[in-house]
Every structure is written in structure tokens, then in C-alpha cells.
Symmetry: C2
Subunit: 462 residues, 2 copies
């Protein structure tokens, strides 16, 4: 049966589109989340056209062989991890930007387009594709769609689903579904587009997307504020929100993150001077408006006890602060492997979450650095562990779960932007309850009755 | 069977919550779309609590009696129209604003809250609930959610679905589903919230919503531009979009609309001087930013041949222009009854749509006034007819359909914000195709297998 499917796949794709060499397939077995299990695929397939995707789906359906779709594999939930005997469908060869329409501010792309390549291409038309996950220089639009990816821009510009007008999706029987439209508004029927966005490859394979673009924002001004306590930093975030300011970026780093980055970049961010938290904010409103916004943010920070609030309109200097923020994960690698959590709490509860993470760190005895999108309440507590120690992995999982528990307790969600995948299945049930789970299963059964796509990811089928 | 269900409903709701008097139920049989058919309900029920909604759903499910949920009945697609023998569930008594949380910029409301009441309540906290359908002073949030309502704000602030964080929905078996969250980001599971938003009462009954609020914008500046041709006005819209300007409002009135309003308000808008189209734009960016935006829009209008482009920062004067815009429908009542269409086209195709509507008007011999949200490409060609003439109704339907045909041909959608309901069912199939229709039916069957909710609205069940 397996051999016969492989033959069919080779007929559909040619020999170079079907990989079975275990040394090569090993690179496609998993994403970036070390806690998630993975299996051994039967084969890895790399289609180049929608028609090939349809034929692969039909062949796999006939053989009852599950399909795990994936892009670059930058995910952090195990949603793209192989299950035993599956076909891993890699969409990276479908990487054409099919159309950029500046007059209607939209782009039509294949799923394998790298996020940064799209950003660069539309910038030439003075347009902006906002979603910017940390992996923006290598993750693909298809993966961004499947996980409803976020990033640093969300506080002002929303997440991936807010930039999608329509999709083409190959369904479990190989038929091609077109959702949405090219107009900016439209309510013809159910919002199928947003049902597929964030469905983590469990409902179909996205082969094309029509994306809404925005005007390219003004060059940003940047403000950095240092606080002696996380409570003060949290209060400043709340104050900014309450005052009706909408920065284009508002990131937080806790003391552990600051110290790691200082060591890594051999720079001075204030950890030595008792700085417990940094806020990095930007305004892209331009001119007077940006100055007014950043002045108001600076005042809010000082009112909440910031020891320093420094504003710059020098782009290179502003970029330097963002580089420090983006260096947190690599900086932690000095101490061991990292795994990053992803809780989103009401914006008034950020300080409590960070303080909770410090308690978890102390209890399990592992370093936990908190970095996050403060303007959204979306925090990434990152646990550092020794990957060669089985004990450490158990402790890391414990810390990971305890942080989710704290997040839920604060009125938050167990995933702000990384997804459920194979690492938060039990937590999905905790968050949405039995009626929510039953609804998920009903929708999955309606669209993929045989459980062909990514089975066992997000939730158990029964 | 019917009597027994009525008894059960009276037990659940008390006598004042169940209406069977045909003189009273007549007021709940239909919405504002004269073309859509309606039936005679068995009863109209007016629950006050979620528990009552659950009990009503269970009782109706046991009796196989369909439920048509509705709010104020301001809809324009017949989605809330009764079917014979159904129970019309009116949610207007569930009208509590349960919570306003300024620190997290959200509100929790029941479905019967009137849009304007919510706007006024959150404005006291310097917050803003953007969706503003024309009926905002009497339509309800529940109806806005069910239809994914839009309005004049959408060009900058999106439609209803862009302001919803979570819902409580009574499902077809009476169970209560909670979707979404209170945080601004979250990707735990499928986006059930946005599946229910815009589902027009076919999947469940929304009994509570958590809504995202924005900071109250600055007082707007207003620009009015007059054009000698619709092509010039359309070109100006395209120019504004291409230049990356995002006004907070951008409305268009064609010559027929202008003339009707001039007669109705006894004012002078330029029709006599050969004005073929007016654009009314606002910027709420405040201060210098608003002045810059409106200056750029004015320049774009003049570059495209505007005969006049007048800007005012006087609020009362700006409001006067909006009053003229909002007066189009009442102004048309002098000539007969009106029915308004709702096509959304790519923003570069507005002039072609308006010109197409003029051709339709000539062909069917009925007045067609086009007014619309130019910044979104969402046009409301409004057909005037004699409601006492059966011939006129046939001609009006013909015009209605021909306009949808033109909209689809221009790459648009058959409904930008009013919905499919009972008046565009065939057009939904035209737009989404057989695979789209099959997908809709599969989702409907998954969530409402007996076809309890609003059967036959949006699409035929088989």
C-alpha cells in the first residue's frame, strides 16, 4: 500500500518532488518546539502547483495516509510535526508573488512566499504587509496563515487574519475551495477565510491567498524606558492604553532578558543599575503626531516611576534597541536550549504574569526570561534548560505548564500567537471547555471526515 | 403539537414573553427589505435571559419548530423574516451593557443593546465602538453581529467582526458555547467567533458579546468635493487610495442622490450646476495630521478635475454635509418606496458601477440613486418604485439583480454589508460556486443538523 502511494506521488511530482531518504526527511519532521512529539513520515513531498496539491490529497485520501502540511518549519507548537507514516507536504516551492495591485492595496501570493520577501516586494509600491513574526526573515506566508501569526506590529495593525481577504484551499476530497474576495468589505456567506486562518493545517491546504496591504507607515520614532520594578512597567503599559495612545510597537523585556542580552551583545541596558524591566515603544504616526505620541508615552512612563525614558528619532539608534529586543532568544542560548511559551493576558495583568514567571523559575530551578508584546499583553516567557538532561526537560515542561496555568488564571489565553499544535492540546480543552471541544470536532468532521489533515494536532479527533 | 409548544414557551417566559396576536406578531414578521418573502410565525418570543434562550431552543428542537432570531429588524436582506409556523425570537429585551473595562478597552454586552446606546456609554470613558450602520440609532448589537454590519467608519476602522473579541452562543441543542477571549490576541483553536459573526442567525443565537473598543478619535475635519462626472469622482477615490491616505470617512453621492437631497432638504449641493457626484471625506487624525490628510485629499480631487473642494473644521458645518449624505434614503421617499442594493467592488471600479446603475435605471424605467462608502468600494444603489404597482416590484427586482450582476462582473461581491438573507440566496451560489455552497451546507449540518435556526435563509439546506 505504501509503495503504491509512493509510486503515485512520484508520478504526480516527479522524482525530485518526493523525498524518502531518512537523512533528508529528518529535516522536515518537526518545527522549533522541542517539547512536542514527532513521528517518522513515509515521505516528504514538495508540490509546485495547486493541481499537484489536489492530486496528492486525492492519492493520500485513497490510501488513508495522513497529510501534515508545513512551510518553513518556524512554528513553536509542533503543529507541523510529522506523525508516523504520514506524508509531510512542504509548500515552500510554491513561492510566487502572483500579483501586487497598488490601486486596490492587495497582493495575491502562493503559500511558500517568505514573509520578508513579500514585505520587500510591496514596499517598492509604498505598501506594507503588517504581520511580522520574529521569524519574518525565513517563515512563510502559508505558515503565517495556518497559525494566524502575530509579531511586533500587532498592537497597531492586528494579526495575520486582519490582513487576509481571501484564500484558495484544497479540501480533504481534493476539491478547490475559494473563500473571500478582492474587495475590502464583503459578507456573502460564512467567514470561511477566517475559519481556515489559524486552523493549523487541520482543515485543508492553503494554496493561494489574497492579502490586504496598508500604506507604508512613516519612519518610526523610538522610546526606551527603564523601570526599577515590573509592577511599574506594567502600570506604565496600562496607563498608555487608558490614555488612548496606540503605539506602533510596545515591547517589554524583564530583568533576566536584559541581563542575557547585555552579556550577549556586550552592551549596557541597565541591568547592573537595578533595571527590572525595559519598555521599547515606537510611533510611526510621523511628524508632530509621532512626537506627541512618544511624549505622552514618556510622560506615562515617568508618572509610573520610570528611572529613564529616552526618545530618539535617529533610525539607526532606534533599530539598535529593536535589535536588543530581538536578541533575547539567541542571547539565552549561552545558558542552554530555550523553549518559548506564549500566553496573552489582559493588558492590565502583565506585571502579575512576569512576577508569576519569576516564582516558577525559582520553583523549578530553571532560568525563565520574559519578553513580550506588552501593548497586546502577549508575553513569551522563555525557559532555558539543558537539552542533554532528561530531568531538565521534565522541569521545563513543568514550568511551561505552570506558566499557562498562571496566564489562564489572569483571564488570559494559553496562546496569543504560536498556536495549540501538539504541545497545548490539553490546554485547549482547559480553555474552551467541553462544548468548545465538541464544536471543534464537529467542524473538523464536517470538513475532513476521515481525519486526513494533521490528525491529532490541536485536539484529539475523539 | 403547536399548542403544547406554546404552553411550554409561556412556562419558560411568562405570558408577556410570548406573543401570538397576529396584529402584534405582524410587526415582527419581516425586516426592511421589501423584496424578501416572509411567512406567518406561530409565535413571537421575547426572552430576558440566556437561560430562557436555552430553554426556548430546547423546546423548539423537541417540537421540530424552526427559530428565526432577530433584533430590531433594521436588516436589509430578509434574514430576520419569519417562515411559516416558526418561533420568532426577539432579543431586544436582553439589552444590558454588562461591563465597560476602559483599562483593557473592551465592553461586554447583551445582544439587544442599541448600537447608539453602546456608543454613548463608551464615549463617557473616551472610548469608541466603530461599527455605525445607517440604522445606528435603532439597530441592535446582536443584529450587527449576525450580519457583520458595516457603516460609514469602515474605511478606517473595519466592520463589526473587527471589533469582536468573543461571544456566547446558544447552540441548536441548547448548550451554551463560549468563543474567543478577553485578550486582544489569541489563537487557541478555530476562530469560532468570526464563524458566528455574519452567519445571519443560521448557526446559533448570540446571547452575549465581548467587544473591542478604540480610543475616541479626534473631532473630524470635513472635505466636500464636487465633480462634473462620476468618472472624475472615481478617479479621485483611486488617487486617494494609491497615495496611502486613510480618511476616517469617504462617502459618495451620485447626481440622482444629490438632486433628491436638494429637494428634500431645500438646500443647494450643486446638482443644478451640473454636479454629477459629490465626495464627502473626513479625517479624525487631529491637528496637523488631519490638515495634512485633508489637504492631500483636496489636491487629489482637484487633480482629478473636481470643480470644488471645500474643507471645514467647523463641526456643525461638517455635520451638515453628513446630514445631507444620511438624508438620501428619506429624500427618495418623495418619489416612492425605496429598496437599497449593496454591492462592493474593487475601489478602482466605483465609477463603472455607478455608470452601470444609470444604464439599469434607464432600461427598467425606475429611478436609481447611488450612494455609498466610496473608500471601501461599497455602493448602495437604491431603487425607487411604486409599492402599489405589482409591475414596479417586478421591475425593481430586475434592477436589483442587474446591479448585482454588474457588481460581480467588476470583480465585486453581491453584498458588502447587508447580507444574503432571503433576497440574495441565488446570488450567493453565483458568487461562491458549488464547492463553496457544499462547504456552507457541511458547516450548517455540523452545527445545526436539524435545520432549526433560520432555515432557508442564506442558502437552501439541500
Amino acid at each position: 500500500m505504501g509503495a503504491s502511494l509512493l509510486d503515485q506521488l512520484r508520478t504526480i511530482l516527479g522524482a525530485d518532488g518526493v523525498v524518502t531518504d531518512p537523512d533528508v526527511t529528518a529535516g522536515y519532521r518537526r518545527d522549533m518546539m522541542p517539547l512536542a512529539p514527532h513521528g517518522e513520515p513515509l515521505a516528504v513531498v514538495l508540490p509546485r502547483t495547486t493541481e499537484q496539491v489536489q492530486e496528492i490529497v486525492r492519492a493520500c485520501a485513497r490510501h488513508g495516509t495522513p497529510i501534515v502540511p508545513r512551510g518553513a518549519g518556524s512554528g513553536l507548537s509542533g503543529a507541523a510535526n510529522a506523525v508516523d507514516g504520514c506524508v509531510v507536504m512542504v509548500l515552500t516551492r510554491m513561492n510566487a508573488i502572483l500579483e501586487i495591485d497598488p490601486d486596490n492595496r492587495l497582493a495575491v501570493v502562493e503559500p511558500g512566499v517568505v514573509n520578508l520577501d513579500l514585505r520587500d516586494a510591496v514596499a517598492k509600491h509604498c505598501l506594507f504587509y503588517p504581520p511580522d513574526p520574529s521569524s519574518y526573515d525565513w517563515c512563510t506566508i502559508g505558515g503565517n496563515l495556518a497559525t494566524n501569526a502575530g509579531g511586533l506590529c500587532c498592537v497597531k495593525y492586528g494579526v495575520t487574519t486582519d490582513s487576509v481577504l481571501g484564500l484558495e484551499v484544497v479540501l480533504a476530497d481534493g476539491e478547490l475551495l475559494r473563500t473571500g474576495r478582492r474587495t475590502v468589505k464583503g459578507v456573502a456567506g460564512y467567514d470561511l477565510t477566517r475559519l481556515f486562518v489559524g486552523s493549523e493545517g487541520t482543515l485543508g491546504v492553503i494554496t493561494r491567498a489574497t492579502l490586504a496591504l496598508r500604506p507604508l507607515p512613516q519612519a518610526p520614532g523610538t522610546l526606551v524606558a527603564a523601570f526599577g520594578s515590573t509592577a511599574a512597567a506594567g502600570a506604565a503599559v496600562s496607563r498608555v492604553i487608558r490614555e488612548g495612545i496606540v503605539p506602533s510597537l510596545m515591547e517589554i523585556m524583564d530583568a533576566v532578558s536584559i541581563a542575557a542580552v547585555e552579556t550577549h551583545l556586550k552592551t549596557e541596558l541597565g541591568a547592573g543599575r537595578g533595571c527590572a524591566a525595559l519598555l521599547i515603544c515606537q510611533s510611526d504616526a510621523g511628524g508632530e503626531a509621532a512626537r506627541r505620541e512618544l511624549a505622552a508615552i514618556g510622560q506615562a512612563c515617568r508618572d509610573c516611576g520610570a528611572e529613564l525614558a529616552y526618545t530618539t528619532y535617529d533610525l539607526a539608534e532606534g533599530q539598535m534597541f529593536l535589535t536588543a529586543r530581538r536578541a533575547v532568544l539567541p542571547a539565552l542560548e549561552v545558558y542552554g536550549a530555550w523553549m518559548t511559551d506564549d500566553v496573552c493576558v489582559p493588558r492590565t495583568r502583565i506585571a502579575e504574569l512576569i512576577e508569576g514567571c519569576a516564582r516558577v523559575s525559582e520553583e523549578v530551578g530553571l532560568r525563565v526570561a520574559v519578553v513580550g508584546h506588552a501593548g497586546d499583553g502577549n508575553m513569551h516567557p522563555t525557559i532555558v534548560y539543558d537539552p542533554t538532561s532528561p530531568d531538565d526537560l521534565v522541569l521545563a515542561r513543568r514550568a511551561f505548564d505552570q506558566i499557562l496555568e498562571i496566564g489562564l488564571g489572569l483571564g488570559g489565553t494559553v496562546t496569543g500567537e504560536h498556536g495549540i499544535g501538539k504541545v497545548r492540546r490539553e490546554w485547549l480543552v482547559r480553555e474552551i471547555g467541553p462544548i468548545g471541544l465538541r464544536t471543534h470536532r464537529a467542524l473538523k468532521a464536517a470538513l475532513d471526515p476521515a481525519g486526513l489533515f494533521n490528525p491529532g494536532s490541536m485536539f484529539a479527533l475523539q
